[in-house]
Amino acid sequence: MALDEYKPQKGGSELETDHQFKYVGTRPDRPDGFDKVTGRARFGADMYAPGMLHAAILRSPHAHARIVRIDTSKAEAMEGVKAVVTRADFSKNVPFAPGMAGEFWNILENVMAGEKVLYDGHAVAAVAATTPLIARDALKAIEVEYEILPHVTDVDEAMKPDAPVIREGAADKSVPEGMHPNVVRYHESGHGDVEAGFAEADLVIEDHFTTEATHQGYIEPHACLATLGSDGKGELWCCTQGHWYVQKVCAALLDLETANLRVTASEIGGGFGGKTTVFIEPVALALSRKANRPVKLVMSRSEVFRATGPTASASMDIKIGMKKDGTITAAKGEFRLQGGAFPGAPMEFTAMCAFACYNLKNVHQVGYDVMTNRPKQAAYRAPGSPMAAFAVESVIDELCNRLGLDPIEVRLKNAAREGTKASYGPTFPRIGLVETLEAAKAHPHYSAPLKPGQGRGISCGFWFNHGGETSVSLALSEDGSAQVMVGTPDIGGSRASMALMAAEVLGIPFEKIRVTIADTGSLGYNEISHGSRVTYASGLATIKAAQDAVRKLRQRAADKWGIDVEAVDWVDGCAVPSGPNAGDFDPLPLAEITKNMGATGGPISGHYEATPEGAGVSFATHIVDAEVDRETGSTRVVRYTVVQDAGKAIHPTYVEGQFQGGAAQGIGWALNEEYIYGPDGRLQNPGFLDYRIPVASDLPMIDTVIVEVPNPGHPYGVRGVGETSICPPLAAIANAVSNAAGVRLRDLPMRPSRILEELEKQQGDA
């Protein structure tokens, strides 16, 4: 094939710019609303099967120990106990490899400990019994002998030469010589000459920041119901962001043929990245195989905290130089992230997102992925980006303060735009950062007067967004209604946006469309619902599947009229002749065509599958007013405004909801939430009482402004919206606190004790 036959899509090719929307952009009731307000929606733990057993998992009380001996015989002998499994019941064919290349081995090791337990809460054995109470009692009868090893839970400590080694040989080739074996991956990127850039600056600030690990905090604990026979065929029901991924991982960990395991995604009670994972599903399947009965396994809240994915914690050094006029001359960052006892802390995203909001001639960023004796980190909304934004946007704020410059003007002056060489390398296509800054500047919040004791902070944030493998089917019914089958679990109203996009293409009302989340037996592979990809990728596939159906509908009309299909247009749900030359026929509505489709060529359906790669990056600017109580050190957020580029808001209410939810999680991360480890390496706050997520009385209303700078990679211009909203809050609040109380908090969370400490220092200095 000649080179010029390739038609690369250089931005703009997907976008249907002249589109007048009829359904997209409206706010209908979500199709699954009724189920969810009546209690009949079935979530992970809401499924039961005849003859079902209940399972429970025995977990390590130690942060780091060698398993000398496990004796399960007493548990097995108990009445009502039907199966006990340990690591011996899983595949021996999953190869170890360094870094992320060995991810399946890492998952297996995390699902059930091998030679060592690596963190407090690491699974060691599991039991299935006739009742939950018997299963719990049986755990106590399992004897495990441990040889306790030295442990480390702090990222900076874990890099020191004398730190205990979590696992030899886990580092991949990216790591420079001479680093501690706990440093398992390394990233470096940037361009220009940062030292020359710093020399040009009028003011250079260099500072150190830390953020603690936080948990996604979904209210629904992980839950599943598994059935597997010794014939290798199984069924799995579970709450997950990606059931094809669960299918693939479980098959590998249990030596099954992937297609023989059918996985159905339940309704999902929150995920935020934390359910892009596999923890209990292979355990339930292994127990089911052994007991030859269905097995239900539900985590307790403390198990969720101890053994499922928190974020990475971070230790960061930032250096930024600025001229008196606000021009940033150079920026440099070093990001050390621990992601628990396995490779995978998203330090490369921390590094790549850190300075992505700015047009920088000189920028350099370095990231370290470090292992510690903590649970395996999991993705959490824009993984890696919020901590970077906290550090970088705090320094920029400090520079603005000291140079007497307006924080929005400075950001506008340096903002990345179309054509800017991104801090992580490529050139930005059309992006919407400037638009969010302008909208923030114009918002009444930005100029509203503050009360005494209050301060205002702003911050920007960035996330990539993602496409990924996607497959969608659409089938028309005789009465002219349509069923859409998508493979991405609906975490926050995505059925509604899919139905809107299908309605737009088919030209039939939203109410005539039913969207179902298909199981793994009904569609091809769909990547996990993550990376803000659902509205983008499943949406794009839904549009294309609907267009496929429309093409067939036009064909039927063309056949009926005896004209060429090219001479038939699709307008407002009807086939119409494309012009006077095509002939004089009355519009033929969709339902008229489907009514006798069986007799005119058979059922009509549409299908689309691909790996769409046109995801558009997104930016946000947040404004926050905070009040600091100088007596108690507690901080209250009194006003909050989110401004974010959505590309195109398909269902604006749910877009606002994503903005608000991300902001609220960011507020929690900034002020209250943290993993607290004791000197014994055990998690001290594995419950909602001591790990305090924001409650209704902690928060104000959260205002939203939806900016729409269309993404050229989607027919309607959609960018993802789920993740960017958690990036700005940490720094925005720190900046507000600094303006309210005159103290700069460099460590999260900004709990009262830390604020009081800073206030005392401030008094001492005065």
Partner: protein
Amino acid sequence: MPEVHLWSGLRALAGGREVVEVEGRTVGELLDALVAAYPALKEPIEAGVSVAVDGRVIASALNEPVRPDSEIYLMQRLRGG
């Protein structure tokens, strides 16, 4: 011939070069050509890379076309929440 920009961490594996020219009409062909020219890049590429083509981040589709004048950056594989 397309020019591929490597992130700094990869440069040591490609003879210290920041930009390498390799033949290829798709993302997949480029990656194959990179490994052929610099075998040390095999491991990081297999561990997962995304490829930014003219500013669009291609996470997995090896069949995405590239043009001789496309701007191409290797990036670490994108994962989301």
